[in-house]
Symmetry: C2
Subunit: 247 residues, 2 copies
C-alpha cells in the first residue's frame, strides 16, 4: 500500500527560508517521521520563493519583440518579457499560447513564469536549477533527520492532445526517475521492448491529488513506494530533441 | 491521506469474464470493502481480454499500405494492419514511430495495439468504448456491493517532449475527470484563469505506481481522494483538434 500524505503546516514561504527545516518541522508537527523510502514532493512555487526567483513586473523593460507578441496575444508586455528571458526556443506560438523550451530544456507554456499564489504585480520564475534545489532539500532533510528520502520538485503543466493540467517532475534528488522494464519478460514470456515508466512524473501527479486547491498544500510525502534510490536528475526525463517527434 | 491499494488476487482474464465480480471478490479476499468514495483503476489490457478485443496475427491480411509502412519501419505487416484498422488519422509517422489518432479520438503510439501480456501471436486492441466498459464495471460493482466507487480504465503511453511512459485515463464512470479551479482566487486574491486539473489522468498515474511489473497488478483501489462524483467521460479529456497546437 502506498500513502499520499499532504503536509498542512507549511507557512507562506519568503526568500531565504530554510525549506528542508520547514518541511521536517511540519512533518513532525503532523506526527509523520521521515523514512528512508519516503518521497518528499515539493511544489515549485515555494522553492522559487525561497530562492528569490520572483520578479516585480515594474522591473521588466519589454523589448520590441515582447511588445509585438504581447500585442498579438493580448498579454502584458512585461509578462512576455519575463517569459522571453527564460526562453531558449519558442516551440509554438499560436492562439494566445506560448509553448516554450526553457533554458533548462523543459517544454511548457509561458516558460513556467506564473502569476498565481504570489504577491500582486509579481511573477515567479522556475528555479535556476531545480535538480540542485532538490539536492539541497535532500541534504538538509538528511542532516536534520539522518534519513534519506528522495525529493521531487514539481510544476503544473498542460499537455498536447489532452485537456487539463497535471503535475510533472522538474527537479529531483536521491532517486532514479524511471522504472525500467526493458529486457524483462511479461507473464507470457514476451520480452518487453519499450516499457520504461517515468515514475518521477507519476509521483508528481499522485502528490498533486493531495494539494487540494492550487498550492494550498505545497509539500506532500509519498510513503511505501519502492523506488530505485540513486543519484538521478529530472533532466533525464527531457526527451532529446533528435528523438522528439513534436519539437 | 490518500491510499493506493493494489489488488493482488486478480487471475489471468479470459474472454467473457465478469470483471466487476472478479474485482469485488479480489478486494474482499484482501479485506478491502468497497466504499462510495473509492476509485477503482483498471488496466486496459484485462478489459480488452474480457471483451474479446484480442486478435490473432495470422488473421490479419495486410493491405499494400500496411506492407509499405512495415517495410519502412521494420515492423510486422500484420501488426501494422491491425494498427491501421484502429486508426482515424496518422498524427506522425517517423523514425519507426506511428503516432495515431484512434477511432475514439485518443492520440497514442500504435493506436494502443499491443503485444505484451497476451498469448503469443496475439495482439490486444483498446476496448471499443472504454467509457462504456467503465460504466459496466461501475454498475456491476454497485450491484454486488451497493457502493458507487468511480471506475477508471487506463493505458500506458509515451509523451511528447518527455522520456518514459505514464498511465492515462481512457475510460471512466461515476466521476468528473477534472478538478476545476478556474474563477477561484488564490491565497493572494488573484483569480485563477487556467487551472483545471486532469485528476483522472493523475489517478491513473498514481495507480500505476502500485502495478509493479507491467500489468502484474491490473486493478488498484485509490481511497481517500475527494473527487467530484458525476456522469463524466474520459472523452472530455480529449483536446478538440481546433484547440490542439500539436495535431
Amino acid at each position: 500500500m502506498i500513502l499520499i500524505i499532504g503536509l498542512t503546516g507549511i507557512p507562506i514561504i519568503e526568500k531565504g527560508d530554510d525549506l528542508g527545516k520547514i518541511i521536517v518541522n511540519a512533518a513532525k508537527k503532523q506526527g509523520v517521521n521521515m523514512r528512508n523510502n519516503d518521497v518528499i514532493v515539493v511544489t515549485q512555487k515555494i522553492v522559487s520563493k525561497a530562492e528569490g526567483r520572483v520578479i516585480n513586473l515594474k522591473d521588466m523593460e519589454p523589448s520590441e519583440f515582447a511588445y509585438q507578441i504581447a500585442n498579438q496575444m493580448n498579454k502584458d508586455p512585461r509578462h512576455v518579457e519575463a517569459i522571453l528571458r527564460e526562453t531558449r526556443r519558442i516551440v509554438k506560438m499560436k492562439d494566445g499560447n506560448l509553448i516554450i523550451e526553457t533554458k533548462h530544456g523543459y517544454v511548457c507554456a509561458n516558460a513556467g513564469v506564473d502569476r498565481s499564489n504570489i504577491k500582486k504585480d509579481s511573477l515567479s520564475l522556475l528555479p535556476i536549477d531545480s535538480n540542485e534545489s532538490a539536492q539541497k532539500i535532500h541534504h538538509r532533510i538528511n542532516e536534520l533527520t539522518q534519513k534519506t528520502p528522495a525529493v521531487i520538485i514539481t510544476d503544473t503543466w498542460g499537455r498536447p492532445w489532452r485537456q487539463g493540467q497535471v503535475d510533472f517532475a522538474i527537479g529531483l534528488a536521491g532517486m532514479n526517475p524511471f522504472r525500467d522494464h526493458r529486457g524483462e519478460t511479461d507473464m507470457f514470456g514476451f520480452i518487453l521492448k519499450a516499457t520504461n515508466i517515468a515514475v518521477a512524473d507519476e509521483l508528481a501527479s499522485a502528490a498533486e491529488l493531495a494539494k487540494r486547491k492550487s498550492d494550498e498544500i505545497p509539500v506532500v510525502i509519498i510513503r511505501g513506494y519502492n523506488y530505485s534510490k540513486g543519484k538521478g536528475s529530472a533532466k533525464e526525463i527531457i526527451r532529446p530533441i533528435e528523438k522528439d517527434l513534436f519539437r
